[in-house]
Every structure is written in C-alpha cells, then in structure tokens.
Amino acid sequence: MEIIQLKDLYKIYDEGAVAVNAVNGISLTISEGEFTAIVGPSGSGKTTLLNLIGGLDRPTSGEVFINGTEITKLKSKELIDFRLNNIGFVFQSYNLIPVLTAHENVEFIMQLQNKPLAERHKRTIDLLESVGLGDKKDIRPRHLSGGQQQRVAVARALASKPRFILADEPTANLDSRATTNLLDIMERLNHEEKITFLFSTHDQRVVNKAHRVITIEDGKVLSDIYQEVLVHGKH
C-alpha cells in the first residue's frame, strides 16, 4: 500500500538574487514497510524534500499525498494535527524537550493525542525498552548521550503510531558506534513491526543498510534502486 505519493513536486526559493530550484520536479511513491534512504550531495535538496513530505513546508507546485490525503490542501492548523497523528519526526539534533525526562518526552506526544494514561504509560515503557533505554526513562535529555537522545527521539516518533517515520540526517551528529546502534534499532523496528522509515543521510554506512536508495541531485531524482541487504546477519 502506498503511503507517500509525490506528484511533480517543485520548491523554488527566489528570495535571493538567483532562484534556487531546491526540489525540481520530483515524483515518487513510498509504500508501507519500506526502509528508504535519500542520499545526495550537500545542497541537493534532501532536507527540502523531507520538509515537504512532512508538511513542514509548502511546495511551489505539485502535490503531496500521505495515505491518500493531499496535505498541500490542508490549512496550517489542520496540518499540525495531521502531523501529530500520521507522521513521526526525528530531527538531526536537539529533538527533545529539555525540561522533560526521556519517559515524559515519549509520553508527551500521546498526551497531545489525548490518549488515556494507562495506555500512555505502557506504550512509553515498551518503546523505551525497544530502543534499549528502559533504564534511562527518568533522565533528562541533557544527561543522555547524543545517540541515546536520538533513540528517545525514535521512540517518541513511534509513540503516536504514525504511518511512517521521517528522519533528516538522524545520525549526522553521532559517532560510528551510536550510528550503527541507531540504525540497528530502526532496522529491527522496520523488520519486526513493519514500521516505514524514510531518512536522508550522507553516511555511506547508513546508505548500505537501506533497502531502497533514492539519490537526488540539484532537486531531481538521479537514481532509485532497491538493494539487497543483510538483516540482522541473515537474510
């Protein structure tokens, strides 16, 4: 089933002296359960593309369908609610609310959804366990390592039971061990729970783990390939 559908998407910045076609006519489809990486050189338009898909920015032209809803037609307020219930976000850094503990950060998103307390607590604990931070639940972000913070962010992104998770360079600020660790967790969630991931990256090791690699350059899709990968050491 198709979760994300982009039709002839353009984003042109023309505030400066020259107009920049950050996204220059992209059409593509992402299906449920995919584990997709978007790669490309710096300035190629990865962040811009992910922002458009996530409903954080509006395209100059073209359409973005999420699960059949054309989000480009939603009003700003509706868009906030749509994001809350359909998309999980992991940003590059400073994802978490500093005054809340790991547990509270994960629970927060379900509070925004008005989920009942019992469900919130159980799900928060389960999610923190699944990202390997069950023992860090009462710790505030500033006392967590960068990798741990990103894992909490993944747990939070999952908490709302979104259609997919969008991550713009989630490992950019992590060392290689933390990167591998985070990727392993994401991969396992994808494999075991059929969570759809769409992430951008510069990192070749991260690219190697992806099942599908979309390469963009100058705002256009250069290549779109499915690659064979080892999942947890066996296939």
């Binding site: 906030i80 994001r83 005054v99």
Partner: protein, 407 residues
C-alpha cells in the same frame, strides 16, 4: 502536562527567574512601602487638623464660611443637637460662637479671635486642655477667658489679670466687657498662638448679644470613612433650617490641594518605577522566548497545537508574576505592619518644624487591603502584557525557520 512544562521551564534558568521575581518583589515592596507611608501621613495630617480645629463636618448657616460674620450665626435648639447626636456615626457635637474683638490690657491692644466654647464638649474634639500652660481651664459657664501665650505676651497680661474686650456684636450691637484671665494656652502653631481667646459659650453669647446663637456646630465622627453618608443624614435634618453641613475637605481646601499634589508626584514616581520593572520583565521574556524558538519549532512540528504552546508560555509568566507578587506582599506585610504599629519619628529640624505646626513629628503608615490589591493588579497587568510577546512569536512561528534557527 502544560502546567508541568510551564513550571519546569521557569526553573530552567534559576538565576534569571529569581532576578525577575526579585525585581517584581522589590518594586512591589517599594511601592507598598512608600505609598502606605504617604497615605498614612496624609491621613494623620487630616486627623490632626480636623481634630485640632474644624471637626470632620461643621453645621453652619449658608454663606458663613466665606464671611465669618456673626450675623450669619444661627439659633441652636436642643432638639437640633439631639437629632444630630442621634446619628450613630456622630461622636460629638461641639457648638462654637466665633468672632473678632479688640483685646486690650493697660497700654496694649490687639485684634483677636474670640471663640465661645462648651469646655466639656470641646474636649471630645480638639482636646484644648492639653495646650494649657498656666492657670486653670474653663468651667461650663465660666465668666473668665483663656488667652493664647503669644497674644498674652504681647498684651503683657497674666493669669489673674483682667482683659478688656471691645467689638461689635450680633446685629451691630456694641460689645464691651471685662474678663478675668483664667489661664494661658500655648499653641504650637504661631498663627493660633498670636490671636486666640477662648471663653465659655454662654459668656461669649452674652458678650456678643447673641443669645442662644452659635456660628458653627463642629462634629467629630466615629468613622471618618463614612463621612458622605453621615453628611446626607445631617442634610436631611437641617434642610428646613437654612443650614449647611460642610465637610472638612471644603473647609481645609489648602490641605486637600497639598495632598493632591503630593499624591500626584508620588504616583508619578510609582509609574516610573513600574516602567523600569516592566522593561526588566519584558527583557526576561524576550530572552526566554528567543532562546527557545528552535524548541518551539520542534514542538509544533511534531504536532503540538500553537495555542497549547502559547498557554504554556502564558502559564510561565503567570507563575513568575504570582511568585513575585506573593513574595512581595508577604515580605512587605510584616515590615509595613511593624511601622504601622511603630510610627517612625522624624528627627532634628524636620521634627521641630512639624511640631511647630501642631503635628506629631511622626511618620505614619497605612494598612489598606485595597491598596495591596491595586498594586498587585498593576504588577499582574505588566506580567500579562509581557506574556503577549512569546504568544505572538508562537502564533507567527514558521516550523522550518524555527527548527533551523540557531540559539
């Protein structure tokens, strides 16, 4: 959840929060302190003058106050006095007959103010007895007089001597008489001390040929705050008599004027103070907001509605304000309470000067709950205005710009 967020947010930067709360606190403390001092002092000044002289209300013939003419005196009946006395708030009705006469002793003569009083009743308002320096006080139908010390000095007259008074009485009848001096009064106010002669009311009425007449009934009140209502009641009683009930504010116009001016300058001081505080609070808010724009961006991106976020910042400001206000009131109450019970003494020249005018050389403090509420409301208003800033920033926030903003 919103409360938890707000509460923890204000403690993110403990020092800044404490400094802000402390600035609110000290402004409030200063405002409450100076204002209660001003208001307390005004109240005391009014009390002093009213009780030394005018009373809170005087019943007079219409037009008497402008001319001070004995022909504008009126006949006072027991029923009138009884009726006025029966008003609950009226604690004393003090009849007086005031006019002028030439006082002479041997070779000296001087124009003087002659006041006929009921010595017992007068005691319930002006406590004249406390100024007595020599001799004895008047009895109810005494035929002697009391003379202010400076006047006595000028006339070179003493207790036991006989003073001669010459003047004009009611309806132009000539008035002349000899009166033994019973005592000398020393007033702190040079004005009074240079011209006052007191005699018993019947004696004075006889001297001015003004049988049963008085120029005023001065009233003392149990509760001066109820003056307006009491005046209304009196107005009803005296309506048919062609009399007026004049409140002290109309008699002591200069005092009222002075208080108004002084009060205005006090209020301007306060306005400046609060302006400074407002800038301080606003600065804090701007910093608190700017350094969190990125965080706001993330929160809105992951699906927090903007109004919820705005509520968090509003709560933060309210908590900060309440913190400042409560600590301000709690800290200032015992301080002002202490000074309320133990008025400050003016020292040195200032004290002497004040004493000269017949006032106690003390600084009094008022304890008025409505004043506390008012000042607290002003601070609350400042805080609420400042709270608009983060809310506006939040409603104008663009997600990606906010996320990519550097702190």
């Amino acid at each position: 959840m919103l409360y938890t967020l707000a509460w923890r947010n204000i403690w993110r930067n403990k020092r800044r929060t404490l400094i802000t709360a402390a600035s609110v606190l000290s402004a409030l403390l200063f405002a409450l302190f100076t204002r209660s001092m001003q208001i307390g002092t005004y109240a005391k000044m009014v009390d002093n003058l009213v009780q030394a002289y005018t009373g809170y209300i005087q019943v007079q013939k219409k037009g008497y106050w402008e001319n001070k003419d004995i022909n504008q005196s009126f006949k006072v009946s027991d029923t009138l006095v009884d009726k006025i006395s029966s008003i609950l708030n009226v604690s004393a009705v003090v009849p007086r007959l005031e006019y002028f006469a030439l006082a002479s002793f041997e070779l000296q003569a001087k124009g003087s103010a002659i006041i006929g009083i009921d010595p017992e009743k007068e005691e319930k308002l002006t406590h004249l007895k406390k100024w007595l320096r020599n001799g004895v006080f008047l009895s109810t139908d005494d035929n002697g007089v009391l003379i202010a010390s400076k006047l006595a000095g000028y006339l070179k007259i003493n207790v036991g001597d006989t003073i001669v008074l010459i003047g004009q009485g009611y309806h132009g009848v000539s008035a002349a008489g000899k009166f033994p001096v019973r005592g000398i009064l020393r007033f702190p106010s040079p004005d009074l001390d240079g011209q006052m002669i007191y005699m018993s009311l019947p004696n004075c009425q006889e001297f001015f040929s003004a049988e049963n007449r008085v120029t005023s009934l001065a009233l003392n009140l149990n509760n001066p705050d109820e003056l307006d209502r009491t005046k209304q009641l009196i107005d009803e009683i005296i309506r048919s008599h062609n009399l007026v009930a004049m409140p002290w504010q109309e008699m002591l116009v200069e005092l009222v004027q002075y208080i108004k001016q002084d009060n205005a300058s006090g209020l301007i001081m306060l306005a400046i103070l609060y302006l400074v505080v407002a800038f301080g609070v606003f600065g804090t808010v701007v910093m608190m907001t700017s350094e969190r724009i990125r965080e706001f961006g993330i929160m809105v991106s992951i699906g927090m509605k903007k109004w919820k976020l705005a509520v968090v910042t509003l709560l933060e400001m309210l908590m900060l304000g309440v913190l400042g206000i409560f600590s301000g009131v709690i800290v200032s109450l015992p301080i002002i309470g202490y000074y309320y019970l133990h008025p400050v003494n003016y020292g040195g020249d200032m004290g002497e000067l004040i004493e000269k005018f017949g006032f106690e050389p003390k600084m009094y403090f008022a304890l008025q709950p409505d004043f506390y509420v008012g000042q607290s409301l002003i601070v609350a208003l400042i805080v609420l205005c400042a709270a608009c800033y983060p809310m506006i920033r939040i409603f104008k926030l663009k997600e990606i710009k906010a996320i990519h903003s550097r702190m």
